[in-house]
């Protein structure tokens, strides 16, 4: 094993896959030096600031035999490309009757905590979940990012990698040898019997300490990281809730029609799971507000270890 940052893990995934397949190309407004150095400016393009344009260009290149990797940078810039994402990327394979494949990987950093204010801070992944035709990963560690991103690049479908912007310096271990992680498999980080806590993205790291504290109090917490938002591994979540009878979902996005609502409903609409539930579902989410700039305000918006601990206690009461 070796220790790498989240940022490095993402870069390694891209580098390895670009090495492997010369049909992979890379598009972003700032071309990463590590990529241009290795693959040249022909395959690694610095684009004008035209996310809609180059998202569409990636789609057309994908339909013409290439495997583009697009980095939108901040997820809020992806909204500029939303017509291409929604009307074209997500629908094109279906509406043309499956006659061509469109393998594209979109990378984007999301979240908050950087005092970047509303136009540079957001966790809007649930907006994309309601669409059909896009797969989505939400990696919470360097290990997950590298393994999932490599699978994403190999996918014959569009995949969005929602990466936590304030985790790029976060370190973690990865194997020396090559590995990939399958899309659509949740990761059980901690087994437990009293409550299931599903964490999304970076929220895992605020939840683990809460679980430790509860452990000392004799409460056994199961933590599940879905890792992939679409397809969602509901079976693992349901099985866990059937065991524990309690479901808490932690997300740094607003609750309304969020991924947390989907996960909650995946449990409560399922007969066996519903029957096993001993407490209402609990969403621990960011407040549904645009993200403010000032530290006192921004820190209030996102869940933290204290709020998570309090939230879990609530369903145990």
């Amino acid at each position: 094993m070796r220790t790498v940052t989240y940022s490095q893990a993402g870069l390694e995934a891209v580098m390895e896959e670009m090495q492997k397949d010369d049909k992979t190309i890379h598009l972003s407004t700032n071309a990463p030096a590590a990529l241009t150095d290795s693959f040249g400016t022909s395959r690694v393009r610095a684009t004008p600031i035209a996310e809609g344009g180059f998202t569409g260009i990636a789609l057309g290149a994908a339909g013409s035999g290439f495997r583009p990797i697009v980095n939108w940078s901040m997820v809020t810039f992806s909204f500029v490309a939303m017509d291409q994402i929604v009307n074209q990327v997500s629908k094109i394979h279906y509406m043309f009757g499956g006659q061509a494949k469109f393998p594209i990987t979109f990378r984007t950093s999301c979240g908050g905590g950087g005092r970047m204010a509303a136009q540079h801070s957001q966790n809007p992944y649930s907006m994309f979940m309601n669409l059909a035709g896009l797969k989505m990963i939400l990696p919470s560690t360097p290990y997950d990012l590298k393994g999932l991103l490599k699978s994403a690049i190999r996918e014959d479908n569009p995949v969005i990698s929602f990466e936590a912007g304030n985790m790029y310096a976060f370190e973690g271990e990865i194997p020396e040898e090559e590995y990939t992680l399958p899309l659509g498999e949740a990761h059980i980080l901690r087994e437990g019997t009293d409550v299931t806590v599903v964490t999304l993205g970076r929220m895992l790291h605020d939840t683990l300490p809460a679980a430790e504290i509860l452990d000392k109090e004799g409460v056994s917490v199961e933590i599940i990281d879905p890792r992939t938002l679409v397809p969602m591994d509901v079976d693992t979540i349901r099985a866990s809730v059937q065991k524990t009878g309690r479901l808490v979902i932690v997300d740094a996005a607003g609750a309304t029609a969020g991924a947390t609502a989907e996960i909650a409903t995946a449990a409560t609409e399922h007969a066996e799971t519903f029957a096993a539930m001993k407490a209402p579902v609990k969403r621990i989410c960011a407040f549904n507000v645009p993200i403010p700039y000032s530290p006192t305000l921004e820190d209030h918006v996102f869940p933290d270890a204290d709020k998570i601990l309090a939230g879990i206690r609530e369903v145990l009461a």
Binding site: G56, G60, S64, G65, Q88, Y94, F96
Partner: protein, 321 residues
Amino acid sequence: MALSAEKQLEMLRTMQTIRRFEERASEDYIGGAIYGVVHCYIGEEAVATGICSALNIDDRIISTHRGHGHCIAKGADLNRMMAELYGRATGYCKGKGGSMHIADFSIGMLGANGIVAGGIPIVTGAGLAAQLEGKGQVAVSFFGDGASNAGPFHESINIASAWKLPMIYVCENNLWSADTEAKGTLALEDIAARAAGYGIPGVIVDGNDVLAVNEVAEAAIARARAGEGPSLIECKTYRQRTHTERKEAIDNRPAEQVAAWMERDPIKLFAADLIEREVMTEEDWKKMEEEIAQEVLDAVKFAEESPFPDPEEALVDVFAE
């Protein structure tokens, strides 16, 4: 370079095929066998034909909501087109797309597109692919005057010029976008003037003269194949029908404008020219018309005899396996 007689007759055949196919599509739309919405290309056939007749099968194009003409000009199969309009399982998109989404990637037709200007970036990506492949292919974006006011036009043509992509941007300026006159939505007479904003050539051509269109296309394509980058071609043309087919369509365009352009019907003009130049006889033309009429009837028959897709097919093709 003078075009061979054969080539010219092929071009006339293409134009007439588009015409007849759409006349039938319109009829069947009104009759109820075709659903949703149908936008006819009738009156603009010289554009798609003039451009596509200068392309190879491995060159790529993209179309708009008004897509039948581009499909046929690029060589699409009438049977599978009509079956798609009929919503049948044998259609190009297995009935999932309909008139606004016919595509045939095997002949470099990357699809009709229902979002105005939405296809322009996509086909620019085909231009990037062509550049990366280095085999001298080009890509052509067809779009309307209305689309030229939209952001994706600007972003795409700018990127193509910055990267010298082998692209041809073909603006079909038919003076209207739906019920809105181009005049009120841009302060220019000539959309070709926009080329100046990208440092690329912008040419204006009579879009109802298929040979003229073909000539400027050849030049732009040669430039693109030579690695010299994109061109913008503005084809002045007109749609003879209303924006979409309707039972009781109301045309709010000035009657004199419509009449003047009907006079300049691209097929009549070209057929007369070919006869005058003795490339064909009246007889030949009549025969060609009949053959085409039969092909369209065959396509209808194919469509009618094809099954509707199984309802469960609706759940297939969301993702590639």
